[in-house]
């Protein structure tokens, strides 16, 4: 059951032209349900578990779950996105928690080093 929406936290990205999870999903799987105003995954069976939606949600309203057929209940992995860092908190089925934090971007001089030949 990959992305699991915590409906009490999700506000459907109200006010945005496109919700963040909908924007992020490489498989076009996330959608905000018109009736409930909450996000849902169209088809959990088609999910790659890439966690892009989970990273993109500004309200931490999405949890990625490993399908039960593959992994037991219940572990969690939560990404916390910083500007140049990412922090991950992982809790396994025995309740053991591990935190990982590292740099995921180098500071780049503004107005671009894009292109030294320009």
């Amino acid at each position: 059951m990959p992305p699991r929406i915590l409906t009490e936290k999700c506000n459907g990205c109200e006010g945005l032209p496109e919700s963040r999870c909908e924007e992020a999903c490489p498989g076009n799987l996330m959608v905000v349900d018109a009736a409930t105003g909450k996000a849902r995954c169209r088809c959990t069976r088609d999910c790659w578990d890439c966690m892009s939606c989970t990273k993109a949600c500004p309200r931490a309203a999405i949890e990625t779950r490993i399908p039960y057929q593959l992994g037991y209940h219940k572990a969690s992995l939560r990404p916390i996105m910083g500007k140049e860092h990412i922090t991950w908190k992982c809790v396994d089925i025995h309740g053991v928690e591990t935190t990982y934090k590292y740099r995921n971007r180098l500071a780049v001089a503004p107005a671009t080093q894009t292109d030294k030949n320009a």
């Binding site: 069976r45 790659w48 966690m51 057929q69 037991y72 780049v108």
Partner: protein, 594 residues
Amino acid sequence: MANRKASRAVDIAPRSLAEVRTETVECDLLIIGGGNAGCFVATEAKRLDPSLRVVIMEKAEIMRSGACSAGMDALNTYIPEGKTPEDLVRWSRAQVGGGPLREDLALSNAEELNEAIDDLERWGLPILRDENGKIRYRGKWDISIHGEQLKPIMAEKAIEAGAEVYNRVVGTGLLMDGGRCVGAMGLGVRDGLFYVFRARSVVVSTGGAGTLYKSYTADSTDSGAQIWMCPYCVGSGYAMGFRQGAELSSLEQRWVATRTKDFCGPVDTISVGYKAPIINCKDERVMSRYAHLGGDAAPRFIRANAPMEEWLAGRGPCYCDTRNMAPELVQAMMTDYLNERPSFVLFLASRGQDVTKEPIEIYGSDPYIMGGHTMGGFWVDMQRMTTVPGLFAAGETAGGNPNKFVGGCAAEGKLAARGAIAYMAAGLETPDEAAVSAQVESEKARVYAPLLRGKDYDGVTPTEMKERLQRLMDEYAGGSSQFYRTNEERLDYALRHIKMLQSQFAYLKAADLHDLMQANETMDRVDVAEAVVHHLKARRETRWAGWQTRSDYPGRDDANFDCFVETRRDPATGEVTAFTRPYEQLVPGDRFKA
């Protein structure tokens, strides 16, 4: 310059084609697929000629799309000091068992490689260095990165360079003028519009083709897309070109890899990066059985197939033996996974597995067609032009040149951009308008037909047809359930049923736009699968066991098959023919040694 954001999904239920609106976009260079290669096509084209109108048609949203959606933990190739591009080609050649491979393409790619990776670092990608500032090598050629942001970094540069990105537009077909490509068409999966991109040249970089074969984890539940490769790259680029007569090369050299079991995660990270040996259930080192072929450094297909051979011989399961890893190393390995396949860390947590006590189990993946790993893709010339004038290919979509990975796909993006610019500079004729609008109407009818039939039509859903194909390919065309083996009779059976599926496209139905995208994906999968089966049939030998295993021709046959197998589909009749092209060794040395 713009990243044109998609809207939220809308519901459209057109009753006739006339209700479907068409949006026409004019540009100089059209890039189909804004992935790793596509982003580099865009930045290079705009760098060379800022006045060009460069448009990217992207099926997903460019910040998180394709193979790099979740990130990367390594760049598999970067030429170290003291080594040359020729050395890289020798290594690549040895990895694919001495070839054949396109050494002309491989060499030009290798010459461009380091510069493309240096670009990535300048753009903000953290490449790990040692205390002296030297790049940290993981193996002989691969370097470690913290690449969680790799895709957004590439995408931002493409946009900053001035490319215009049409997100959530799924390419379905090429626009042709006589035999030459003058654009492409696609489905707006969010707004329901039919997009027509008129271009002077087109680069197709839609990645490879996953999901042609059934994955062993696809037990009709929540794990249907638990594959290694991005399951949203389904081979549409191959299908679009093939239907218009572009020649495909080497699809029989499928990419099959050793992956973590039950969750298709990378294994090189552990076995190469952390020197955790591959063992079988008897605690025997599996690769020592292959000492004569290089042991742990044996060609890739041998390493990929080795654990499966252990299973067959009754010595499975197999593992990467992580039990001797120090805690700091485990932390570093988990960090690598978080950068590339974060949910693998979640998988281990959901098994409650401490890898220092219990080793990580491994198994073979389902087969993929990927010209950036193995060689399946379009036959291209040095400019990266396919056999269809005006149509270029880069990355996984271009064939003949294996072991490209992130750096090589980037490098090839640059080469394709240069090729397309040179082609446009030669001056092009104006397309025949009547022929163009006829194609637009017929493609639109083809693409929207399943939606017009509607969800209540007594027909076939895209998922049903996809799964029928995946089972067929798995059992008859050498999938993982068959330990990758096939033979002439099974391939003939597969072809017969592929023809049935093609004749049943007329029953496909779609309930909404997402479904309609899937219906079109499924048709693309079937057309690519047909090509794959023709390739497997034509190579009557076993050259790369695992990647390509013919039980009826178990040995290598250099007299007849030290050459490329090619296919071409007649655009008028749909008939597929297979033929060969000769291999040419350009880089001297023993073909089997790096």
